[in-house]
Amino acid sequence: MAQVAMTVNGASVSGDVEGRTLLVQFLRESLKLTGTHVGCDTSQCGACLVHVNGEAVKACTMLALEADGTEVATIEGQAGDDGTLSVVQQAFQDHHGLQCGFCTPGMVMSAAALLKDNPKPTETEIREYLDGNICRCTGYHNIVKAVLAASGQEVPAIAAE
């Protein structure tokens, strides 16, 4: 076992982990932050997406020890202390960007990372950026609408091609 320490959603945390402990395991099992989901074991679905030092990262494809000393942001830190949803979360609710909600934490974190670098993305840019986030329910259109709305842009009618 080795000691790991990092900042998660602004709070200093630490714990004992094995070499093989994944960041997502540390978040879910040690810190009980179960909002970050695990949807695959092939690094393909994006349900586990968090920010590490401000960058979108798959928490299932990073060792907890690699995150030592970093600043991690997860879905639990997105809403305000009083429960007010973040702009992205509110847009997902307003535009029905979720159904079962399994992919949603990863989608919201991915969208937040996109908007930080690119505050007014085009529809194509949104779709390309969300390439690594798989959703089994929505068919994506409402997610794209939500991200457009969260960026303060007009939400066009998007229909299946």
Binding site: A2, E18, G19, R20, L22, D41, T42, S43, Q44, G46, L49, E55, A56, V57, K58, C60, T61, M62, L63, L65, E66, D68, S110, A113, L114, Y129, D131, G132, N133
Partner: protein, 262 residues
């Protein structure tokens, strides 16, 4: 995943010393190695993380030569060589998805030499030099077949040096489920000739299509590769595409690459 010890190396010398441990293995971005460990396809005793070694980071340009540190991520390459070597930036920008690009590194991709990976095509197509802790290896000698390279046990890639071509393009026919190429072609034009590197197609991994290179050296036009074809025999055949289909794609993607540069 089997358990292992984790060592964070602070310098190349540190990493090389730690890799002397039996069954120790380097860890770069982990975007290939961690999924492999999850499937229990590897059982290292120790993972030596290269991510925090300052010498392995960064991109420098000296005249027409671009040197990229092995631990430089795909996102950094996509961003920082967009002006100096746009075709390579575009290759990096289309690897996997944004989260994969934020962690995955050029050194890891080159060392892994997945038969469908993008960077081996970029390196071979550019006639790059692979720099290790010990020596310099021409890309033509470095890639030695599926998941096989010239690297010795305990040797690490420290940088990749690219001669910047007059023009180049990367044509990726994506396999959308994996986001790797089904087949992709990297074509670069240098003063001393055209180089065509193909990934995703051959059972031998990345290769140069010398017939197309000769034809394009003689006459750089879309017609040059029209009558050419690769032998389906040595191609990869799987549920995503048969040998014949991949052989066909090699020609089609090469033609698209030529057209992109006309």
């Amino acid at each position: 995943m089997y358990n292992f010890d984790f060592v964070k190396a602070g310098s190349v010398a540190d990493a090389i010393a730690a890799l002397k441990e039996e069954d120790a293995q380097p860890l770069a971005g982990g975007q290939t190695l961690i999924p492999t460990l999850k499937q229990r396809l590897a059982m290292p005793s120790t993972l030596v993380s290269l991510a925090a070694i300052p010498e392995l980071h960064g991109i420098t340009q000296d005249g027409d030569t671009l040197t990229i540190g092995a631990a430089t991520t795909h996102s950094t390459v996509a961003r920082e060589v967009a002006q100096s070597y746009p075709a390579l930036a575009s290759l990096a920008a289309r690897i996997g998805d944004p989260a994969v690009r934020n962690r995955g590194t050029i050194g890891g991709s080159i060392a892994n030499n997945d038969p469908s990976a993008c960077y081996p095509a970029g390196a071979l197509g550019s006639g790059a030099t692979i720099v290790t802790n010990d020596r310099e290896i021409a890309a033509d000698d470095f890639f030695q077949g599926m998941f096989t390279t010239a690297l010795e046990e305990g040797e690490i890639v420290t940088a990749v040096r690219f001669p910047i071509p007059q023009a180049a393009t990367y044509q990726k026919f994506i396999q959308p489920a994996s986001r790797f190429p089904l087949v992709a072609v990297y074509l670069a034009k240098y003063a001393d000739g055209v180089r065509v590197a193909v990934t995703g197609a051959s059972e031998e991994g990345v290769f140069r299509w010398s017939e197309a290179e000769a034809a394009l050296d003689a006459d750089f036009g879309a017609g040059a590769v029209k009558g050419l074809s690769v032998e389906p025999g040595g191609m990869i055949g799987d549920i995503h595409g048969s040998k014949d289909y991949r052989a066909h794609l090699v020609q089609v993607m090469t033609k698209r690459a030529v057209e992109a540069l006309l």
